[in-house]
């Protein structure tokens, strides 16, 4: 486990460096400067602006400066469009919304997905199995931006049970977290079911039956861990996809989180803000992946003890 984790930990800075570098050069090499979209401004002002943001320096110097600010101070620089605020301030202000949404959705997805997947796997070919897998297929094939508005239409506009949009209290959180959770619940349910099916045909489950254990104990103690491994492996890419999904969900439900800010800044070409958000998501993802690895090691002793 130690060695395994050490290797992962070593990867973290490399991943982040690659991400930062790619996004930095992508932005700087893009045709047109950061202010090219705006109303024509006088030469002197433009030059002053360029100087203010150090855009008049050579590219390697800019890169070095950016890296240094980032590593030494965690500073992502000023926003080009929100002239008075830094990227850090904007993110710090918006992040709590997104984290709450993401956290709720993750819990919901795990709860729905694991529950449905386990039961469907144990009762293969039952009605519950068919029904839940059909729903899961829908969850996989219908994108969040279709599900979200339909939920709004049904539960907010027609039935009036829940608010349409905004972020103010538990009621507001239901639909967005459900929308965000659905595709992941679907994936998790399918993975859990498949894992369950595979595991319950293993020899060691037959051994467990032959010992006289009850089905409950066999499922919970003997089968579940093995069945969860593919689910845990999925959580890494799953979390990445959830970050992406939050862009859409925040937009649909008018949640003032990092996601909607990102979309806004991307469409406005606020390069520093876009980059800052990309880096933020990178860090989140890397940390989550690390957690997932630890959980994986915790579940599977063969990895924990470096077999």
């Amino acid at each position: 486990m130690g060695q395994f984790l050490a290797k992962r930990l070593l990867q973290v800075p490399v991943v982040l460096w690659v991400l930062v570098t790619i996004s930095f050069f992508m932005v700087r090499l893009a045709p047109g400067g950061p202010f090219s979209g705006e109303k024509r401004m006088p030469k002197e002002i433009e030059q002053a602006m360029m100087a203010k943001y150090h855009l008049d320096e050579s590219l390697p110097r800019q890169y070095a400066r950016f890296l240094w600010d980032l590593v030494a101070h965690g500073d992502l620089g000023p926003s080009y469009k929100h002239k008075t605020r830094t990227v850090n301030e904007i993110i710090a202000h918006k992040l709590p919304y997104s984290l709450t949404l993401g956290g709720l959705a993750t819990v919901l997805a795990l709860w729905l997905g694991l529950g449905a997947g386990i039961v469907a796997g144990i009762r293969q070919n039952s009605r519950f199995d068919y029904a839940s897998m059909a729903i899961a297929m829908v969850g996989l094939s219908v994108p969040a931006f279709v599900v979200g508005p339909l939920l709004q239409l049904a539960f907010s506009m027609k039935l009036g049970w829940l608010p349409v949009s905004g972020w103010d209290g538990l009621g507001h959180m239901v639909l967005p977290s459900l929308t965000l959770a659905l595709p992941f619940a679907a994936r998790i349910a399918r993975l859990t079911r498949a894992g369950m099916l595979e595991v319950i045909h293993q020899d060691y489950i037959r051994t467990a039956w032959a010992k006289g254990l009850s089905e409950r104990v066999i499922v919970l103690r003997h089968a579940l861990r093995g069945a969860l491994l593919p689910v845990v492996s999925f959580l890494g890419p799953g979390i990445a996809a959830m970050l992406t999904g939050s862009l859409v969900v925040e937009r649909i439900f008018g949640i003032p989180g990092v996601g909607s800010e990102f979309v806004e800044s991307a469409l406005n070409r606020d390069y520093t803000l876009v980059m800052g958000t990309v880096i933020l998501y990178g860090v989140l993802l890397v940390v989550m992946n690390l957690l997932v690895d630890i959980v994986y090691g915790f579940l599977d002793p063969r990895i924990r003890y470096g077999a």
Binding site: D203, Y204, R206, T207, A210, K211, G212, L213, H222, P301
Partner: protein
């Protein structure tokens, strides 16, 4: 044979599997019994239904696709097939234990050995907690695991194949069962380890006066370990005999072919091994003839139209054949061959 009531009596057991290709008649009317304290061998080619028969004893056949249309399996007079779920669970692992072929996959890789042992002990004996753990260490010592107290908290992957099979045996024996069913317990192991494991099973069986059903391909094992042999072919029992009689005087042509197909120390020098020609039956339909007929050297017309029942000879030996081999004929038959 034995005067006391048998521990286990299997009567007219049938097991079918529904598959995409059709119904597989894996076991077709199998009957045999296991006496108190005896060790019974079940031999036969791969796919003849040995494992399925014994899995049926503990109701471990997955249903679906499996089904058991007829049969009784009496354990001390009670039919296991009719028991309630909690009753059969008390028998499984408590009264009747099973050891499987592949020790590499039969232990749960995610749980410590200690957990896997104590869960059985706590389920079937009054021992709990530390006492159960002490019992687990004790059986590990009995099956020859060095330093059991230190190794009990290991995971299966930290053990070699032979050691894992010892753990399996310890697990099976930790609850003091009446009957141990060992399904090819050594097939997956190295030859040297095989001998050790078999010795171990034999010693423990004698010490505890437990009954043993040993499923195997290996006739050499049978000779050393068992008192009686059930020979299976194509989902049926074709012959039952005390082990010495079977080797000296096989009555069913399949038994004879089986004996000829493996090397034996007591065979006349220079005799070549004779593989059994042809393929085992597909079992895709209800057998209406002798299942061995297509490969039998002594086949008669009748064998192709009627399934021979398992009948006793004058001396009480059981065989399912219309033209049983008489003593002495076997050698002639061998010399007939071109």
């Amino acid at each position: 044979m034995s005067e006391s009531a048998p521990v286990l009596q299997v009567e007219d057991l049938r097991v079918h599997f529904k598959t995409d290709e059709g119904k597989v008649h894996a076991v077709n009317g199998v009957s045999f019994h296991v006496n108190e304290g005896e060790s019974l061998a079940i031999v036969g080619e791969s796919g003849c239904g040995k494992s399925v028969t014994n899995m049926a004893v503990l109701r471990l056949i997955p249903m679906p696709p499996g089904e058991i249309p007829t049969g009784r399996i009496l354990y001390r007079g009670r039919d296991l097939l009719n028991m309630r779920n909690d009753e059969i669970r008390a028998v499984r692992g408590g009264r009747i234990s099973m050891i499987f072929q592949d020790p590499m996959t039969s232990l749960n890789p995610f749980l410590r050995i200690s957990r896997q042992l104590t869960e059985s002990i706590e389920l079937h004996t009054p021992l709990r907690g530390e006492a159960a753990r002490a019992r687990a260490i004790e059986v590990l010592a009995q099956v020859g695991i060095p330093e059991p107290a230190a190794r009990i908290d290991s995971y299966p992957h930290e053990f070699s194949g032979g050691m894992r099979q010892r753990v399996m045996i310890a697990m099976a024996l930790s609850t003091d069962p009446d009957l141990l069913i060992a399904d090819e317990p050594t097939t997956a192991l190295d030859v040297t380890i095989q001998a050790q494991i078999l010795q171990l099973i034999r010693r423990l069986q004698r010490e505890r006066g437990m009954s043993l059903v040993l499923i195997t391909h290996d006739l050499a094992v049978v000779a050393g370990l068992c008192t009686r042999v059930v020979v299976m072919y194509g989902g049926t029992v074709v012959e039952v005999a005390p082990v010495d009689d079977l080797f000296a005087d096989p009555r069913h042509p399949y038994t004879l072919a089986l004996l000829r197909s493996v090397p034996r120390l007591d065979a006349p020098p220079g005799r070549a091994l004779e593989p059994i020609e042809g393929l085992p039956p597909k079992l895709m339909s209800e057998p209406r003839n002798c299942p061995f007929a297509p490969r039998c050297r002594f086949v008669r017309d009748r064998c192709l139209h009627e399934a021979p029942p398992l009948e006793a000879d004058a001396d009480g030996r059981l065989r399912a054949c219309f033209v049983p081999i008489r003593a002495g004929q076997a050698v002639d038959a061998a010399e007939e061959r071109p």
